[in-house]
């Protein structure tokens, strides 16, 4: 938080997202949003409630249930002078949009030798434990990180969500913005003044000296909770949120690893071939000779997310499992 923020209020993450959209739509008439049930319904998670009243159905557009189709239309609209913000209700549905994101949006700038641009934002969700089962609970952001031409943003607080979304909308490239559906009601300070947060700048959420917990999105609160538990054992944990997985602030991660010499990387995506693998290898390559132990990775279990609560809860890292892993690493 900048110390100059004078009129700081508490907003939920959903309110912060909504405020970012409203401010950017006021600033730039070319910005519009489209997706399923986003106008009068205000989105099933009520993130967008009221936007249609201010901006009308011309700029808050209810689409058919055609994720590939309206994502494709957004790509074309972005190339020809508009600034689309596409709403994909559940991150699990990005599979339906993949050709448009991976082969069209991500590539048109490069394939055209830099002549066409595709300044669009795709907002979608991640996160399990909502008892929504295997097709509404995945955290699939690593899929998009794998593709050159896209930028991938994972905010973990209302403050970050607002500042990063405003930056995403002003970016000249396709940006995929993942919101944790379980954090929409999380409250946090958000200044009333205009601000943006640059991409590629990690945030040290908590300073520490014994171990670094690199955490993304939903896992930042988990890491902060684990850090408190570790305090009681005189283990001082540093918690770092990369905030954008691409571009990635490698320097901050590596410097923290060099300082603490122990690192756990925590992300709600699948562990195998996932974001944790990339983050861990980045740290291992950059801080190898300062590390006391191999970088530990914690992600979702490699199973389809199950429905039954005790099963689902077993699939994702928790304060307790992170705390235990950290203690073992520091032991």
């Amino acid at each position: 938080m900048p110390e100059t923020a004078t009129a700081t209020r508490e907003l939920t993450l959903a309110e912060a997202v909504r405020e970012a959209l409203a401010e950017e739509m006021r600033r730039d008439p070319k910005v519009f949003i489209c997706g399923e049930d986003i106008a009068e319904a205000g989105h099933p998670f009520k993130v967008l409630t009221g936007l249609v009243n201010e901006f009308g159905t011309e700029r808050v557009i209810d689409t058919p249930i055609s994720e590939a189709g309206f994502t494709g239309i957004a790509v074309g609209a972005a190339m020809t002078g508009l600034k689309p913000v596409v709403d994909i209700m559940f991150g699990d549905f990005i599979g339906l949009t993949m050709d448009q994101m991976v082969n069209q949006a991500a590539k048109i700038h490069y394939m055209s030798g830099g002549k066409w641009k595709c300044p669009m934002v795709m907002r979608t969700t991640l996160g399990a434990t909502r008892r929504s089962a295997a097709q509404h609970s995945q955290s699939l952001h690593a899929w998009l990180c794998h593709v050159p031409g896209l930028k991938v943003v994972l905010p973990s607080t209302p403050y970050d969500a607002k500042g990063l979304l405003k930056t995403a909308i002003r970016d000249e490239n396709p940006v995929v913005f993942f919101e944790d559906k379980m954090m929409y009601k999380l409250k946090g300070p958000v200044p009333a003044e205009e601000y943006t947060i640059p991409f590629g700048v990690a945030d040290i959420k908590r300073e520490g000296k014994d171990i670094t917990l690199v955490a993304t999105s939903s896992m930042v609160q988990v890491a902060l909770g684990a850090a408190k538990l570790l305090d009681e054992y005189d283990i001082s944990a540093e918690v770092i949120d990369p905030r954008t997985l691409w571009p990635l602030d490698e320097k901050t991660l590596i410097e923290s690893a060099k300082k603490t010499s122990r690192v756990i990387v925590i992300d709600e995506g699948y562990g195998r071939y996932g974001a944790t693998a990339e983050l861990a290898s980045t740290i291992a390559e950059g801080a190898f000779f300062s590390l006391e132990a191999p970088v530990k990775r914690m992600g979702a279990m490699h199973v389809p997310i199950p429905f039954s609560p005790p099963l689902e809860d077993a699939t994702v890292p928790t304060e307790k499992t992170v705390f235990e892993a950290a203690r073992a690493l520091c032991g």
Partner: protein, 332 residues
């Protein structure tokens, strides 16, 4: 609906100029593509190319009805669309050879020619992949009130892609100025479209409330005439339409597709080449109507050929991009 041209009226000066211009454009595409084939067989071109020979009347008839600032999206078989929309021969050849001077600095190649200056949103190597982009461009045109229209070229193979039907639905709902132009050359790569395509393709548009027409895609004047009407209604705000152009690719799926008898007969190919060649048909019309005699047409062809030769030389002589540019242009 099927469309024909009234040929009973005596052509005026404007008609004659239009027909000559369209003939010349078709011939440019034909000679360009023949040169591409030679570049391939002489091993001067990296990769493959999908030749447009036989289908020239579609691109030329459609693009002639467009404004310079109207948008098109093209396909893997896209050289004809790009040239008809105004691309220059030398920058096209340079791109095909992977040279820095090419339309995409050599990063796109044959299947990805793009050029904002001529409204070309890009050729697309995903079949049906550009249907969203064209519809989105029409969305922008309507929202920004520019009066532009967008033409989405695709082949019969794209009729198998769901994206087309998703975006046609939205184009109709939102009355977008987009014209879907289906070049039905009857082959989805190496498979006859009757094996892949159920029902009546002309009913697909009306199912969404999209006006549908069919035209002889070998008759450039007919293609132009119907496109003009569809462009006019799109500009007026009357919404999208779909145009089926019956056509034929004289060569294989790509330049390397030589032995083709397993999916279509030599007799079929020969019949199209003899009776249904859009370039020679138009030449016959021009001479029959006394607009140009054979020596005038031969002169025209020689001029275009020397233009093509100069463009190829430019491309062959042009330098490749330096390897350190490989990671430029990933992000704007």
């Amino acid at each position: 609906m099927s469309t024909t041209v009234d040929r009973t009226q005596t052509p005026g000066k404007a008609d004659i100029e239009l027909w000559l211009r369209m003939y010349k454009q078709m011939l440019r595409i034909r000679l360009f593509e023949e040169q591409v084939n030679q570049l391939y067989t002489r091993a001067l071109m990296p990769g493959l190319a999908h030749l447009y020979i036989g289908e020239e009347a579609v691109a030329v008839g459609v693009c002639e009805a467009l404004r310079p600032d109207d948008y098109i999206t093209s396909t893997h078989r896209g050289h004809g669309h790009c040239l008809a929309k105004g691309a220059s021969l030398d920058l096209m050849f340079a791109e095909l050879l992977g040279k820095e001077a090419g339309y995409c600095k050599g990063k796109g190649g044959s299947m990805h020619i793009a050029d904002p200056a001529t409204g070309n949103l890009g050729a697309n190597a995903i079949v049906g992949g550009s249907t969203g982009i064209a519809t989105g461009a029409a969305f922008s045109a309507k929202r920004l009130g520019t009066g532009q229209v967008a033409v989405c070229f695709f082949g019969d193979g794209a009729l198998g892609q769901g994206l087309l039907y998703e975006v046609m639905n939205m184009a109709a709902l939102w009355k977008l100025p987009v014209i879907y132009v289906c070049e039905n050359n009857m082959y989805n790569e190496y498979t006859h479209y009757s094996e892949t395509t159920a029902g009546d393709i002309e009913l697909r548009g009306p199912a969404f409330g999209v006006e549908s027409h069919k035209v002889d895609g070998q008759d450039v004047r007919a293609v132009y005439a119907i496109t003009q009407k569809l462009v006019e209604r799109a500009r007026k705000g009357d919404g999208p339409s779909i145009l089926f152009c019956d056509t034929y690719r004289f060569h294989g799926h790509h330049v390397g597709d030589i032995a083709r008898e397993y999916y279509r007969s030599k007799q079929e190919e020969q019949a199209w080449k003899t009776d249904r060649d859009p370039v020679t048909s138009m030449a016959k019309n021009l001479t029959a109507l006394g607009i140009a005699d054979s020596s005038a047409l031969a002169k025209m062809e020689a001029e275009i050929q020397s233009e093509v030769d100069a463009a190829v030389k430019f491309a062959i002589d042009a330098p490749y991009p330096s390897a350190d540019k490989v990671d430029h242009d990933i992000y704007a």
